[in-house]
C-alpha cells in the first residue's frame, strides 16, 4: 500500500474541477492509455489570467490528485505565474508523493506546459530547452519520454541518478535500454550547469573573479619574466589592463596579451572577454 498523504487521498476521493471545457482557450495533454496514465487539462484564459481550469485523467490515485490540485493551483492566477509552476510545486502542494509516484506530478507539469505552449501568448521556454530537435527526441521508447521531459525533471528536482529519473518520468522503467542515454543526459546537464555558473555571475562577482584571476594566475606568470600586469577597468566584456615592468614596451606584449591573458580569462569567465591594453 502506498503511503499517500491525507491531501492526496482527499483529492482522489473528491477530485476538484473534473471535466472538459468545450470552448477552452488552451488544451494540453500528457501520457497515453498504453502507458497506464493520461491527463488532459483545459484552460479558460482572460486578460492573461486563468479564469477556469478542468481536467480528465486516466491513472492512479496520485495522477488524479496531481491533476486535481493543479487546477486549484492555477485558477485565478496570471499566466506569468502559472508558467513558473513545476512538478515539484505540485508534489509539495500534495504534501509529498512517494518517490515512485513522482512521475504523476511530472505529468501534471507536462500537460500544463503543453497547454501553455499552445496558447498564443506563450513564448518559447527559456534557455537550454529551446532546441526544437532536442525537445522532440524520444529517449525512452517504451513510454515515449522525450529528452525535454527528462531535462525538466532533472532541473526542477535536482535529480542526479538514472533511478531517480525513472521514478520521476518513468523513462527507463520498462526494458531499460535507454538507461545509458539517460546517464548521458544527466552528465550533459551537469556539465552545462557547471559552465553556466560563471555566466550567471553578477557584475560585481564578475569583477572580483577577473581581478582574482589576474592577481593569482596571470600576474605571477608575468613576474617570472620580470614583468607584471594590473587591472585598470572592466566595461562589459572589455577588460582594460596595464602591462608593466619588462612587459611594457616588449615586442611580444601583444602576444602575451592575446594568447595568454585573454585566453586565460576566456576559459575561466566567458568566451566574449576582450583584453585591451591601456597606455602607460
Amino acid at each position: 500500500m502506498w503511503d499517500y498523504s491525507e491531501k492526496v487521498m482527499d483529492h482522489y476521493r473528491n477530485p476538484r474541477n473534473v471535466g472538459k471545457i468545450d470552448d477552452a482557450d488552451a488544451v494540453g495533454s500528457a501520457g497515453s492509455l498504453a502507458c497506464g496514465d493520461q491527463l488532459k487539462i483545459y484552460l479558460k484564459i482572460k486578460n492573461g489570467i486563468v479564469t477556469d481550469a478542468k481536467f480528465q485523467t486516466f491513472g492512479c490515485g496520485s495522477a488524479v490528485a496531481s491533476s486535481s490540485i493543479l487546477t486549484e493551483m492555477i485558477i485565478g492566477k496570471p499566466i506569468s505565474e502559472v508558467r513558473k509552476i513545476t512538478n515539484k510545486d505540485i508534489a509539495d502542494q500534495l504534501e509529498g508523493l512517494p518517490p515512485e509516484k513522482m512521475h504523476c506530478s511530472v505529468m501534471g507539469y507536462e500537460a500544463l506546459e503543453d497547454a501553455l505552449q499552445g496558447y498564443e501568448d506563450y513564448q518559447d521556454l527559456e534557455d537550454i530547452r529551446a532546441d526544437e530537435d532536442k525537445k522532440q527526441k524520444i529517449v525512452c521508447t517504451c513510454f515515449g519520454i522525450t529528452e525535454n521531459v527528462i531535462w525538466d525533471a532533472i532541473k526542477q528536482n535536482g535529480l542526479t541518478t538514472v533511478e531517480e529519473i525513472t521514478n520521476y518520468t518513468k523513462a527507463g522503467g520498462a526494458c531499460g535500454k535507454c538507461k545509458g542515454l539517460i546517464q548521458d543526459i544527466i552528465d550533459t546537464y551537469y556539465k552545462k550547469e557547471e559552465s553556466k555558473k560563471t555566466e550567471g555571475l553578477s557584475p560585481a562577482q564578475r569583477i572580483l573573479k577577473i581581478n582574482s584571476i589576474i592577481e593569482n594566475q596571470i600576474s605571477p606568470e608575468l613576474q617570472k619574466d620580470g614583468g607584471d600586469i594590473t587591472l585598470v577597468d572592466i566595461d562589459g566584456n572589455k577588460v582594460y589592463v596595464k602591462l608593466r615592468g619588462k612587459c611594457s614596451g616588449c615586442k611580444n606584449s601583444m602576444l602575451t596579451l592575446k594568447a595568454f591573458v585573454e585566453m586565460t580569462l576566456k576559459d575561466a569567465i566567458s568566451k566574449d572577454i576582450e583584453v585591451i591594453e591601456v597606455g602607460a
Binding site: M9, Y12, R13, P15, V18, K20, S29, L33, A34, G36, D37, Q38, L39, K40, F55, Q56, T57, F58, G59, C60, G61, A63, V64, P98, E100, K101, F143, T166, K170, G173, A174
Partner: protein, 401 residues
C-alpha cells in the same frame, strides 16, 4: 458509511484458521522443546512434528513421509527444488518454465541464465492456457528440469500437470518436473502420485496456516542438494531447528483444507461465479480475462476498460474491500502484470484489471455488497477519464445488444 472488512485477496494471503492457531499454541507455550533432544520433554514436539509430516503426506497423497521437507515459505520450496535438481545434474544446462510463473521462480531463472543456463519460457494463449505443443517441442536430451506452476496466482488458470508429466516421460524420462502448487493448495485436490510429479512446493499461509512455513514434496527417486547446510534436520535436506509450532499449524491447516475441498468446489465457486456474473452484467465493458479456461474455484480476474486499477483498489479500500490489481501503478514497477501481458490482454483493459480471490470465509452478503457498490465506483472513475467518447461508444454498443 459503515466500514466492514471484506477480504477478497486470498491469493495474496489468508486468515489463519482458529483451529490452526489452537493447534499451534501448546508448541509456542509449554511444549517448547527441541524435537532433536533426547529427554522425555522433547517427545511431544517430536511427535507433533511427525504428525504434521503425516498430515502433509496425506495432503499431497505422497507415498512416504520421508518425501516431505518442511521449509519456511513457497519461495524457499521453489528455490530448493530448482537449485537442488540443477546441482545434482551439473552437466545439463537446459530448463523449461512458463512466461507466467510467480516472480519467485522467474527471477531465479533469470539469475540462472546469467550463470550459463539456457531457459525456455513457454507462452500462454489469450485465456492464459499453456501452449503444450511448444512445451513438448522444447524438451530435449539436455533438459534438466521442467518447472510449471499448478495454477496461476493472478488468473487462477489451472495447468494440466498430469499431461505435462506424461509429455516429459515420453520425450526425456531423465528430466525432472517441479510444480509450484502454492495457488492450488486448499483449493483443488493435490495427488502427487496421480500427477506424476517429482517435486511440488506449497506455502502454508495460502491455506489458512500462518506466514513463515512451507513444504516441499520431493519423491524418493529424486535426489536434491540442500539449500541450507548445517544440521541433520529434514534428513539432511534442510538444516535448522524445525519450526515446530508453525509446522504443526500447517499440518492442521492441510487436514482442515482437505475437508473443505468440496466446499471450495461448490460454495466458494458459486460465490465467485455470482460475483463474476454480477460484475459482467452490471458494468459495461468489463472483461473476464480468462475466457473459458479451467480455473481454481476462488479466483476471478476482470479488466475494466479505460480506467486504472490502482484507483479502483483505493476506492474499494475506502469501503473496506480488499482486492488486487495487475496494474503498473500498484506494483511500482511501471509495467503492467507480466501474466496479463503474456496473455495479450488489450491495453485498454490491462491497466484496469482487478483480481478478486475468495476463501471459505467469504459470505454471500459480502459478495452482494461488492456487487452493489462496484458499478458506482467504476462509473465514478470513468467519469474523470479522458476517454469519454470511447466510453460513450462502448455504452451504446452494450445497450444495443
Amino acid at each position: 458509511m459503515d466500514k466492514k472488512l471484506i477480504y477478497l485477496d486470498n491469493n495474496a494471503t489468508t486468515r489463519v484458521d482458529d483451529k490452526v492457531l489452537e493447534a499451534m499454541l501448546p508448541y509456542l507455550k509449554e511444549q517448547y522443546a527441541n524435537p532433536s533432544s533426547m529427554y522425555d520433554f522433547a517427545k511431544a514436539s517430536g511427535h507433533a512434528l511427525k504428525e504434521a509430516r503425516g498430515q502433509m503426506k496425506d495432503f499431497f497423497n505422497a507415498a512416504n513421509e520421508k518425501e516431505i521437507i518442511f521449509t519456511s515459505c513457497g519461495s524457499e520450496s521453489a528455490n530448493m527444488a530448482i537449485r537442488g535438481v540443477l546441482n545434482m545434474n551439473k552437466n545439463k544446462k537446459h530448463i523449461i518454465t512458463t512466461k507466467v510463473e510467480h516472480p519467485c521462480v522467474l527471477n531465479l531463472y533469470q539469475t540462472l541464465e546469467k550463470q550459463g543456463y539456457s531457459v525456455d519460457y513457454i507462452g500462454v494463449n489469450s485465456n492464459g492456457e499453456l501452449d503444450l505443443a511448444q512445451l513438448e517441442e522444447a524438451i530435449h536430451f539436455d533438459t534438466a528440469l521442467v518447472s510449471v506452476m499448478y495454477a496461476n496466482n493472478e488468473t487462477g488458470v489451472i495447468f494440466p500437470i498430469r499431461k505435462i508429466a506424461e509429455i516429459i516421460k515420453r520425450k526425456n524420462p531423465q528430466t525432472k518436473l517441479f510444480v509450484d502448487a502454492v495457488q492450488v493448495a486448499g483449493k483443488i485436490p493435490i495427488d502427487v502420485q496421480e500427477l506424476g510429479v517429482d517435486l511440488l512446493g506449497v506455502s502454508g499461509h495460502k491455506f489458512h496456516a500462518p506466514k513463515g512455513v512451507g513444504a516441499l514434496y520431493c519423491n524418493s527417486k529424486t535426489v536434491i542438494t540442500p539449500l541450507i547446510i548445517g544440521g541433520h534436520q529434514e534428513r539432511g535436506k534442510r538444516a535448522g531447528t524445525e519450526n515446530v509450532p508453525y509446522i504443526v499449524g500447517m499440518g492442521k491447516a492441510a487436514e482442515i483444507a482437505s475437508d473443505f475441498l468440496k466446499y471450495e468446489a461448490t460454495e466458494v465457486r458459486r460465490l465467485r461465479d455470482k460475483l463474476e456474473s454480477g460484475i459482467l452484467k452490471n458494468i459495461y465493458n468489463a472483461r473476464l480475462n480468462t475466457g473459458a479456461a479451467q480455473r481454481v474455484p476462488n479466483t476471478t480476474n476482470i479488466g475494466f476498460e479505460y480506467i486504472e486499477g490502482e484507483l479502483i483498489l483505493l476506492h474499494l479500500s475506502d469501503l473496506g474491500i480488499c482486492a488486487s490489481s495487475g496494474s503498473a501503478c500498484t506494483s511500482g514497477s511501471l509495467e503492467p502484470s507480466h501474466v496479463l501481458r503474456a496473455m495479450n490482454v488489450p491495453f485498454t483493459a490491462i491497466h484496469g484489471s482487478i483480481r478478486f480471490s475468495l476463501s471459505k470465509y467469504t459470505t454471500e452478503q459480502e459478495i452482494d455488497y461488492v456487487n452493489s457498490v462496484l458499478p458506482g465506483i467504476i462509473e465514478k472513475i470513468r467519469n474523470i477519464s479522458p476517454y469519454q467518447d470511447e466510453l460513450a461508444e462502448l455504452k451504446k454498443l452494450k445497450n444495443n445488444l
